[in-house]
């Protein structure tokens, strides 16, 4: 070992090893310096809470910023737009709506996640339009987007009102006019190709046509099942009901014990061939497409393909918190879950929250309808 060359080389090795040891010690030092500030992870049964000095990434317990949110799911839930009502010469009811398509805004669709949404009246899903069978529906459609858009309604109407062959150019306008028939639940969406692109970006909503003899009085709500493919790999990154993942998990929907609940459920999910709805600790009557007054099924789970929809009716026998979610559990764990908070009538939170909200806002740029 007297040779200087060898000594230098040994020196090189020693310094390399020292470097490694120093790195180990350096990183060990980092881990010791924790000041406990925030808790996370506690909401999931079976997991402890953890404390962190850093940022919490928690879509299931943090509300999104309402200012930039793509929709207010609580407002959307019971908001039915009956349009501006007038009467035609023959005495039938005319309901006039204004719907504006846009495709330039980037909004928060899940806590921290910003996505370029294409919207009808500034929200995803678009407004729920409501009429009674036989009414004349008139929709003043304005395309404020940068590309062609249309409104295509399901239901019975003439060819030129189908919103398929007459694309509306950017800045263009079109009036869709048809008699509301038959009664039921119908999706509407943009029908410009690529369809998948226009739909998955958010251009859809629900049209409810009530039977002439109204259904029984109920606490009514609309639930639109959708998804977002935020990284454009033709797979959904987020699944929701009413636009924001997990929203009704941290904002449970208040309902009254024993009260009839009616949900207008529509599936506008892209990419995945099916979606479903499962109600906990209860059963519901299901009216497929809502076109019949006799229930098709008494069940606790309903599975729908793209564009399918129906009406659910149920009431809760016991108070407490109950989940509802996609029984395709993958979707549930990517955002499609929510909860009902059932309270006894005497403890009911606010009776007014159960009455249907009827809006006739005249300023369409504000997200309202006229």
């Amino acid at each position: 070992m007297s040779h200087p060359q060898a000594i230098v080389l040994v020196g090189v090795i020693i310094s390399i090893l020292t470097l490694g040891v120093v790195t180990v010690l350096g990183s060990a030092k980092d881990e010791n310096s924790t000041f406990n500030t925030k808790q996370f992870g506690g909401h999931t049964p079976g997991y402890g809470t953890y404390e962190t000095t850093g940022s919490v990434l928690d879509p299931t317990s943090l509300p999104t910023d309402p200012k930039n949110s793509v929709v207010d799911p609580m407002k959307f839930l019971r908001e039915f737009n009956h349009g501006r009502v007038s009467h035609s010469a023959n005495g039938s009811t005319v309901r006039e709506f204004t719907v504006i398509a846009s495709d330039q805004s980037t909004r928060e669709i899940s806590p921290g996640v910003n996505y370029n949404v294409w919207t009808f009246n500034n929200t995803v899903p678009g407004p729920t339009l409501r009429a009674t069978e036989g009414d004349l529906i008139r929709i003043n459609f304005v395309n404020n987007g940068s590309g062609f858009h249309t409104m295509h309604f399901h239901g019975i109407h003439p060819s030129e009102m189908d919103g398929v062959f007459e694309g509306i150019a950017p800045g263009g306008k079109f009036t869709y006019e048809f008699i509301a028939e038959p009664f039921g639940v119908f999706p509407y969406h943009c029908h410009i190709q690529p369809l998948e692109e226009h739909i998955t970006h958010g251009l859809y909503g629900a049209l409810i046509i009530d039977p002439k003899k109204p259904r029984a009085n109920a606490d009514e709500m609309v639930m639109m099942m959708n998804g977002y493919d935020t990284d454009f790999d033709t797979e959904n990154n987020f699944y929701t009901v009413n636009g924001i993942p997990y929203y009704y998990m941290h904002h449970p929907i208040n309902i009254e014990e024993g009260k009839l609940i009616r949900i207008y459920l529509v599936n506008m999910l892209e990419f995945d061939p099916l979606n479903n709805f499962h109600l906990h600790a209860n059963m519901f009557n299901f009216y497929k497409t809502g076109t019949n007054l006799v229930p098709d099924e008494y069940t606790d789970i309903v599975t729908m393909n793209q564009g399918e929809r129906g009406i659910l009716e149920f009431s809760y026998k016991f108070p407490g918190k109950y989940m509802f979610h996609a029984h395709k559990t993958e979707f549930a764990e990517k955002g499609w879950m929510g909860s009902f908070l059932v309270t006894a009538p005497e403890n009911a939170v606010n009776a007014s929250s159960f009455t249907n909200v009827t809006t006739a806002i005249t300023n369409p740029t504000n997200g309202g309808l006229s």
Binding site: I13, K38, L57, P59, S110, V113
Partner: protein, 428 residues
């Protein structure tokens, strides 16, 4: 007159040289300032900044998965959601969820994971892009406890120290060989070393592909480190040899003793000429030991990292494979110094330790603190060191065989060396 102008021209041209040296830099800086201040002058439309993050390491602790992520894109990025197997989970990010360029952070996901199962860990940035890293085999991340450290030490001893020591036992056998057979074993050693050098580069490349973001140009880094290591070691060793020669009594003392043609045919005269080279073979052996030590350090890093990353369950078969593979390394060390008259047992053992012990140290570092970048740097240094040894042994043989390497014992030894390594490598 002409001469005067010539002088003036000279002084002008010196200024000109300075001027022309600066001009390109001045223009370049103006360009940079202009582009940064008025990007719209040069580029129409928006700059689209594509976020890029890379999940470098995933650790498994009881009821917790911890991912280390770094921002390898060109701009600041926020990470807003975490998932396991594409299912969103609540998580925390330390120090925080906004990463500047090349900054890294830890994402802590409370999760009840199962031993031995594969997991995909996903992170979503604020523009909705999801990045994923797949772990083949979830296993409790080794904690730097004494027990785990001694486990690694035991594995390192079996894989690194014992095989090299076994290989050293060939020393008396090689001592008795004729020149041709000796050449055969020496070139056999060269074959082993070339294999190990290439192996280190390939292993480094695997890590680059698997764990290193393209932003770091990992392949180029690996090759560059190997070349730097090779060139600087060649320079250092030749410098040291020159100094040694300067100090010796005979100023004409050659680095490599050249042997005349008549002498070459005579084994005894070769041995006598080697009298002058007593230091050289020992130094060569030492260099080989160090080179192999660096290689084994990299091997240890790889073993430790494999355990950490859950890539392999270290089986007894795998350890046996490494043992067989590394036994040949002992042979490489003894070959050059086998012709020494003096038996140097102590030196041999020391060399064996230099070659073998780094495996243990490597497995500690690899197992407790896996850094892909550090690993490829070590592997690059190791590869360079091995190629330097190949160069030294090669030139030593070249001068001791009358500048002829294309003899049957040498060529066949070299080829067999590579082949044996390949065969034993199949066991790993």
């Amino acid at each position: 007159m002409e001469r005067e102008t010539g002088i003036i021209k000279d002084s002008i041209s010196k200024k000109k040289i300075v001027f022309f040296g600066i001009v390109p830099f001045a223009i370049l800086s103006m360009m940079i300032v202009l582009i940064l201040s008025y990007p719209s002058l040069f580029f129409s439309g928006q700059f689209i900044v594509v976020p890029e993050i890379s999940i470098e390491k995933v650790e498994f602790e009881p009821l917790k998965i911890i991912a280390t992520v770094s921002n390898t894109g060109h701009s600041e990025v926020s990470i807003v959601q975490a998932d396991v197997n594409d299912r969103i989970h609540s998580a925390a990010m330390e120090p925080d969820n906004t990463l500047k360029r090349f900054e890294s952070a830890r994402v802590i996901i409370p999760f009840s994971w199962n031993e031995g199962q594969p997991y995909g860990i996903g992170l979503t940035t604020d523009d909705g892009t999801r990045f994923e890293k797949t772990i083949q085999f979830a296993t409790l991340t080794p904690q730097p406890t004494l027990k785990q450290a001694s486990n690694f030490a035991l594995i390192g001893t079996y894989v690194g120290v014992i095989p090299v020591m076994i290989g050293l036992l060939w020393y008396p056998f090689i001592r008795k060989l004729s020149l041709n057979k000796y050449n055969f074993f020496l070139s056999f050693t060269l074959g082993l070393l070339v294999f190990l050098g290439i192996d280190a580069l390939l292993e480094g490349n695997e890590i680059v592909v698997r764990d290193i973001s393209s932003a770091f140009h990992g392949q180029m880094l690996l090759i560059m480190v190997a070349i730097l290591s090779l060139v600087s070691l060649i320079y250092i060793s030749s410098k040291l040899m020159k100094n040694a020669r300067a100090k010796s009594s005979d100023p004409e003392y050659p680095v490599y003793t050249e042997v005349s043609k008549e002498d070459a045919s005579n084994v005894s005269s070769v041995q006598s000429s080697r009298q002058h080279l007593i230091i050289r073979p020992v130094a060569l052996s030492m260099m080989i030991a160090i080179g192999i030590g660096l290689h084994n350090f990299g091997e240890g890093l790889a073993i430790g990292a494999a355990v950490l990353l859950g890539e392999v369950a270290l089986s007894s078969f795998l350890i046996l494979g490494f043992t067989l593979h590394n036994t040949t390394e002992g042979l490489a060390i003894v070959a050059p110094m086998a012709r020494n008259k003096k038996l140097a047992i102590a030196k041999l053992i020391l060399m064996g330790l230099i070659a073998g012990v780094p495996t243990i140290i490597g497995s500690w570092i690899g197992g407790f603190l896996y850094s892909p970048l550090a690993t490829i740097i070590f592997l690059g240094i190791g590869a360079g060191a091995i190629f330097q040894v190949v160069y030294s042994v090669g030139s030593w043989m070249y001068y001791n065989n009358n500048k002829v390497l294309a003899s049957l014992p040498i060529v066949s030894g070299f080829m067999l060396g590579i082949f044996i390594m390949y065969i034993t490598g199949l066991l790993v």
